[in-house]
């Protein structure tokens, strides 16, 4: 298989397989989790302004009172790479084109030079949180194979995408094919690793907001 055939495969069959596993995996995992249900709360509710599941989905995006000071690296690094990933994935013109081809949906992108900068910042932030995971006793203590694996799965597409655009190390075609392959690996594993928090975090925030909203506590 030469470079072109490799690229054709990852763009065709490879992508189909990865997307199928991703979509079915996400649906299965969501069903597996949320079909467990929960018992209705029979206690009398106490209503308060700003206390609800929906409020909490947004509110938890910002750090809780006093936490920025206690864990600046986790919070600043974590926020930076999440925003960076969102920008790179959804606002890079070639990505939008791909999404348009797959779904018909389209929106304006950002200039390529800006995306370059964001990619570099994202990778830097990811390296910082990785070092923090190694250095901080609590994070090291909590870490399992899944944490290092999930970090690698997320980091590789950013690195290879950036290298492809910069024409670094390997010919563009090869690097692009590798980039697409790493994205496919990410899609395949996302539903079955801690990366699935990309979906469940909204459900979790909603539940805690709902439970506390019932008590009139805005969280």
């Amino acid at each position: 298989m030469n470079d072109m055939q490799f690229l054709t495969w990852v763009r065709g069959t490879g992508l189909d397989i990865a997307l199928s596993i991703f979509v079915l995996g996400v649906l299965w995992r969501l069903f597996e989790i949320y079909s467990l249900g929960r018992k209705p709360d029979l206690t009398a509710p106490r209503h308060a302004a700003g206390a609800s599941g929906l409020h909490t989905i947004f509110r938890r995006t910002l750090p809780a009172e006093g936490m920025l000071k206690r864990a600046p690296v986790s919070i600043i690094g974590g926020t930076a790479f999440h925003i960076g990933l969102a920008i790179v994935v959804f606002l890079f013109a070639p990505h939008i084109l791909l999404i348009k081809n797959l779904t018909g949906l389209s929106w304006p992108g950002l200039p390529s030079q800006f995306i370059d900068l964001v990619a570099v910042v994202t990778m830097a932030a990811m390296v910082v949180v990785l070092v923090d995971r190694i250095n901080k006793p609590v994070k090291r203590y909590l870490s399992t194979f899944g944490d290092w694996f999930a970090w690698t799965l997320t980091f590789l597409p950013v690195l290879t995408g950036w290298m492809a655009v910069q024409h670094l190390l390997l010919p563009y075609t090869t690097m692009l094919a590798i980039h697409i392959l790493t994205v496919e690996l990410l899609l395949v594993f996302l539903p079955f690793t801690k990366l699935f928090h990309a979906f469940t975090a909204f459900g979790s925030r909603w539940y805690i907001g709902k439970i506390n909203g019932h008590k009139g506590v805005a969280v």
Partner: protein
């Protein structure tokens, strides 16, 4: 009813629900919950990271309710939870967790960790891994009626004292009263001022109230140990009493977990909504204050600060009332750092204070409260939970800090003018 690992695992399988599944899948091991937990911040030991306290429960979830987990269990990739492991986790689930909920408050993905620890305790207790101290309190509650072994004659003796000292009647089993007042054992034994304060406040407000001879104890050791059957039994005593006396509102005393048990778990435990309202005494005082039914005179002039009981504020949503009440009787009320919603636990809630072997750790964790107090340097410390009060007093004594602790209800009552006439009644 004997405890066994098998029973514990079965109970844990039952308590796992969609919120818990969502929470376990959302954790990214960021470790922020550790920074919110006083057992971690004061010891620096990572094993006290709140989400780690749930590890055996997480594995049971994974092995029973996820496809990959079930496969892993079948081929022996994921090891089953054992008695030894649960025994090791006892310290993490009870001694070093007061269900204070600070971890739940800071989790960026929204995991309600305290909610999960509360449920994990159901399995710990069913598998025989609850601490002796709490088991003792539970047994006394079942056989005698209160965790500290207080019986009705002790309550009656106290009623008589208050009636003699203040000239105010303490109604018992008065049918049709608006309020049924609950007590905690701690108040009956250590803080008789509470009952006197209630009598003065109710008299001034012109409200009818009563104690109930079959349901005077509000604390719920069943909830603390994690035994819903028992928690239900204890709540049922109160429900039966309140319905027999046809009261409109049951007042939970200055006790955080009694409030959570009755207000936020009660109806779910007995499986139907209550026919009466449940309020914490601080909510009632707040209402009286708003309605002009609470009239005080004079002010404290020494420096006072307020310790928010976790179950009242963070887990219960009562935050403003205590501040309005403090300002009503104090000219020099100063807040501690993190006061209110994010206040730090006394270190002894959720049954932890009943665990003898946990004392050393509790005192270590108390350094957080000490540092909060050192910032403010109050002359006296006010709170609204008898258990916080005892734990605070122990901690203050250990660190040789001369700061008296008092209950907010009694502080308010001290400022109610003497009522010799029929004022308000």
């Amino acid at each position: 009813m004997s405890a066994s690992l098998e029973k514990g695992v079965r109970v844990l399988k039952e308590v796992i629900d969609a919120p818990m599944a969502s929470y376990f899948n959302s954790c990214v091991h960021c470790g922020l919950c550790a920074e919110a937990c006083l057992f971690y911040t004061e010891t620096g030991d990572p094993k006290y990271t709140p989400i780690h306290k749930l590890e055996p429960l997480r594995r049971i979830y994974e092995q029973e309710y996820t496809l990959l987990g079930r496969l892993g269990k079948m081929v022996g990739l994921s090891k089953p939870v054992t008695d030894d492991e649960l025994e090791e986790w006892k310290e993490l689930v009870y001694n070093s967790c007061t269900l204070c909920g600070r971890c739940s408050a800071v989790c960026p993905v929204g995991n309600d960790i305290a909610y999960m620890v509360r449920k994990f305790r159901e399995g710990m207790s069913a598998s025989g891994h609850a601490p002796d101290g709490i088991i003792g309190a539970v047994n006394r509650t079942v056989t005698i009626g209160s965790p500290m072994g207080v019986k009705l004659p002790a309550v009656k003796a106290q009623m008589k004292h208050v009636e003699e000292d203040y000239g105010l009647p303490i109604p018992l089993d008065a049918e049709g009263a608006e309020y049924m007042v609950m007590l905690s054992s701690m108040e009956i034994i250590n803080f008789p001022e509470y009952l006197a304060a209630i009598a003065k406040i109710m008299h001034q407000a012109g409200k009818t109230w009563t104690l109930c001879s079959t349901a005077f104890e509000a604390t719920n050791a069943g909830m603390q140990i994690g035994n819903s059957d028992l928690a239900k039994l204890l709540v049922s005593r109160i429900v039966d009493g309140a319905e027999k006396l046809k009261v409109k509102t049951v007042i939970s005393p200055e006790c955080g977990h009694a409030y959570t048990a009755l207000r936020w778990e009660g109806a779910n435990l007995i499986g139907r909504p209550f026919t009466f309202k449940v309020q914490h005494i601080i909510e009632v005082l707040g209402e009286f204050q708003e309605q002009g039914l609470l009239k005080t005179e004079g002010f404290e002039t020494d420096k006072l600060t307020f310790h928010d009981p976790c179950q009242l504020a963070r887990r219960g949503g009562v935050i403003k009332q205590q501040r309005n009440l403090m300002n009503m009787v104090s000219k020099n009320f100063v807040e501690m750092p993190d006061a209110g919603y994010m206040n730090w636990c006394c270190g002894g809630g959720g049954g932890a204070s009943a665990i003898e072997e946990g004392e050393e750790l509790r005192l270590e964790a108390f350094k957080k409260k000490k540092s909060q107090l050192d910032t403010v340097k109050p002359d006296r410390l006010v709170t609204a939970c008898a258990n916080c009060r005892i734990v605070l007093e122990e901690g203050l004594e250990h660190y040789q800090m001369d700061i008296p602790v008092l209950g907010l209800t009694e502080l308010i009552a001290e400022h109610i003018p003497d009522q010799t006439g029929q004022k308000g009644a």
